[in-house]
């Protein structure tokens, strides 16, 4: 099999990924960039790609500054506490001070936001506003498409690697990938690159292992590309040990926020107890964070986890009691609350509605099971993994600033959304905002650095061979076995994924290990993942669809290995309810209120782990 042709596209700014952050970046960049050429590349089609492609029932990051609801300072304090003391205040503030403008623009473009009788936005929590958000993604994608032009959007192209400059491996030069629907390589030569790809689902073995593997809580399309692209070229990463374990309706993973905050429902165990009451004393072990209202998300998980571990499950959300209380016997009110309850799922997690219908669960009559899901590694929601980036000029202290807002430690490589570490609680609106901020900063970078990047021809040639190798491997070796799936010369991408998930689940504190690990377990897990990383050189693909799956599992494995190495470095348990280090069971602010950062060196195959200070900026 000969290699397909290569199309080379030259541009000033390349945006990789067309989710919320990528669409924000595309929209913002063209306002400022004049004649510069901005190109976006996306694995799917931007109207339904990324984590919000299915829709959303709420915007979870909105200050409401015009109503006097919140200030960005208050947002920073809330986020830092929810993260048990660790978030970059400059980055969180930056999203907070701009995010309202993004939400108002989305409304202007056609997003229906729930309103009170006086025309103000409805609220479901301090930062959350409910929306009729089934079409949030197409509504967001449309102005992005118009801004940079259809001719500059490359869809169904899977980017597998970043390219570095021939004269300076610490400078970005572009990216390479292949057409999922066309037999073609794509090389993008760019002076600046903005990573807006997704965090990682399906790194840990999920609770549903057959068809239900697709019903991950975070989007199954989020394959850890943000990290899998940046780590191999030596980008400094931060907080890769962090993870998010969502409490969600069981199996369908429908959202619970509206139930807690808007309907006022409570979770009880099989004895009818409320763990937030019976486990209150537990919060005192995690001062000062545990005593702040609202209780940090991991500690609420931790309280529920203790009930489950003590055999007090199943845990039920009292949807019935909450709905009956709101309706107060009025059929009209009950009809409204039923409509709202079902919309919460139908807007964003349709499988949960199907789960209810299939089990004859009527939420107004029957409580509904909740569960702690498998861990997810991400940077946009309640996770804070990602690249270590420069903060904004006017806010960042010297330790957090190196020239351009949201630029990584690789010159000309920017990140937003899941790609930015230590800046959580962005959700859809904040990710869109961060994409805008990064794009504007990238335009400034391009004005200051107009010289062309230079492709390393040897790097491009060897990557083309490497990217295509799984297809060639299959053709070469398929005759060695009567069964395509069982062959001593190769692994299918699905087999590699299952191996990764088993390692992560058993050694890195997945669900079967009760989210618990320790030093010897992590060291053993790292040995096994190193073997997996070697075996990834023996992936085989029957077609380009499987070739895409091959590179997705490579990206996910980078995430898994990075996660384990960071877990090993942080010798404390900072986020009980997300994970436990059984050898260091306590939170230790005296030593560990610092960011754990890492850098991978592809020349030596070595990882360097170190810490960076947490700097309090907001009084």
């Amino acid at each position: 099999m000969s290699l397909p042709n290569t199309e080379t596209i030259e541009c000033d700014l390349l945006i990789i990924g067309g989710g919320m952050s990528g669409c924000g970046a595309a929209f913002e960049s063209k306002y400022w960039s004049g004649d510069m050429k901005v190109v976006m590349v996306e694995k799917a089609v931007i109207e339904r790609s990324g984590a919000t492609g299915e829709g959303l029932s709420a915007i979870n990051c909105y200050m409401g500054q015009r109503y006097g609801w919140n200030t960005p300072e208050e947002f920073v304090k809330y986020v830092v506490n929810d993260m048990m003391g660790l978030a970059r205040e400059d980055l969180v503030y930056d999203v907070g001070r701009h995010v309202d403008s993004s939400v108002h623009l989305l409304e202007e473009w056609g997003l229906p936001i729930w309103k009170k009788d006086n025309g103000d936005y409805e609220r479901i929590g301090r930062w959350q506003i409910p929306i009729h958000g089934e079409s949030i993604k197409p509504i967001t994608a449309e102005p992005a498409r118009k801004a940079i032009g259809q001719e500059n959007i490359y869809e169904r192209v899977n980017i597998t690697h970043l390219l570095t400059d021939a004269n300076d491996p610490q400078r970005i030069a572009g990216a390479i990938g292949f057409g999922v629907r066309e037999n073609k390589f794509y090389v993008f030569k760019a002076k600046a690159v903005l990573i807006t790809c997704g965090g990682a689902s399906n790194v840990f073995r999920p609770r549903s292992i057959n068809e239900g593997m697709g019903r991950t809580w975070y989007s199954v399309f989020a394959t850890g590309a943000a990290y899998g692209l940046m780590i191999p070229i030596g980008t400094e990463m931060t907080q890769m040990e962090h993870r998010f374990v969502p409490t969600r309706f069981k199996d369908g993973y429908g959202p619970v926020g509206m139930w807690f905050q808007y309907f006022g429902a409570k979770i009880t165990n099989s004895k009818g107890e409320d763990y937030t009451v019976t486990r209150e004393a537990e919060l005192h072990k995690y001062k000062p964070y545990g005593l702040v209202v609202p209780t940090p998300t991991p500690l609420r998980n931790h309280q529920m986890f203790l009930d489950i571990k003590d055999g007090l499950g199943p845990m039920y959300m009292g949807t019935d009691k909450a709905m009956q209380k709101i309706a107060g016997g009025d059929p009209k009110k009950m009809r409204k609350v039923k409509e709202e309850a079902w919309e919460d799922f139908l807007d964003m997690t349709i499988s949960q509605a199907l789960t209810w219908a299939s089990q004859d669960i009527r939420p107004e009559l029957t409580p509904s099971e909740v569960v702690l899901a498998e861990p997810y590694i991400m940077g946009s929601h309640s996770g804070e993994s990602g690249a270590w980036v420069s903060g904004p000029e006017d806010l960042a202290p010297p330790d957090y600033f190196w020239g351009y807002n949201k630029m990584t430690t690789i010159k000309g490589l920017f990140a937003a959304g899941d790609g930015v570490g230590a800046a959580p609680h962005k959700f859809s609106s904040g990710s869109f905002t961060e994409g805008r901020l990064a794009a504007k900063a990238a335009v400034n970078f391009l004005n200051d650095n107009p010289e062309d990047s230079i492709l390393n021809d040897g790097q491009v040639a060897s990557l083309r061979d490497k990217i295509w190798a799984p297809l060639e491997r299959f053709e070469k070796h398929k005759g060695a076995s009567t069964a395509e799936e069982i062959n001593p010369h190769y692994l299918t991408p699905y087999q590699a994924l299952v191996r990764l998930q088993k390692i992560m689940d058993e050694y890195a504190g997945g669900t079967s290990a009760w989210y618990t690990t320790n030093k010897p377990t992590l060291e053993r897990g790292i040995q096994l993942i190193e073997l997996l990383r070697e075996d990834l050189n023996k992936l085989a693909a029957r077609d380009r669809h499987e070739l895409m799956r091959c590179w997705e599992v490579v990206h996910r494995t980078w995430v898994g290995e990075s996660h384990m190495r960071h877990l090993l470095h942080r010798e404390e348990t900072r986020w009980p309810g997300y994970y436990y280090r059984s050898d260091f069971p306590d939170l230790d602010d005296s030593k560990w209120r610092v960011f754990v950062n890492s850098r991978f060196d592809s020349e030596t195959n070595e990882w360097e782990l170190f810490t960076k200070p947490y700097i309090n900026l907001i009084k």
Partner: protein, 149 residues
């Protein structure tokens, strides 16, 4: 098999510029043509996002819930209406609920990216203001803070 295609209803979107719409839209590259009908080639990586179901012009695509945890017999099926969706929810025991929700306030294609924006693309480039914030931020001045550091 999360989404499945009714072979009697699928017409492979004959005459559609973008080709079969399920193949066009699937965010996870799952839908393809097998023979002359739509087909989900990898059901265990289908998130039941319904992007294909919502777009299918002949309502040929349905969802049989995940075998891992969804008992047979129920159905959740959307139908596009003007600026919204109508959902039919059929329980396993046969009860049917119907809900209609808005999904957009303006027709597809009506957005105007920088309508009325006043920021100067050259003079304001070095500042912290994003495009359109003079209109859309909701407060007069972009907040900043006095650092504690």
């Amino acid at each position: 098999m999360p989404t499945f295609v009714d072979p009697n209803a699928c017409n492979t979107c004959e005459g559609e510029d973008k080709g079969p719409l399920c193949v066009y839209i699937c965010p996870n590259d799952l839908m393809k043509l097998e023979g002359d009908k739509g087909f989900n080639q990898e059901p265990n990586l289908c998130s039941e996002c319904y992007a294909c179901v919502k777009l299918c012009p002949t309502e040929a695509i349905h969802v049989r819930g995940y075998a891992d945890f969804i008992p047979l017999g129920a159905e959740v099926q959307p139908r596009r209406v003007e600026l919204g969706l109508t959902w039919t929810v059929r329980f396993r025991d046969g009860e049917v609920l119907e809900f209609t929700y808005p999904s957009r306030t303006k027709p597809v294609g009506s957005s105007i990216p920088y309508d009325g924006f006043t920021e100067d693309p050259i003079a304001d480039l070095r500042g912290q203001t994003l495009a359109g914030e003079s209109i859309w931020l909701g407060v007069d001045n972009l907040p900043t803070f006095v650092s504690n550091a």
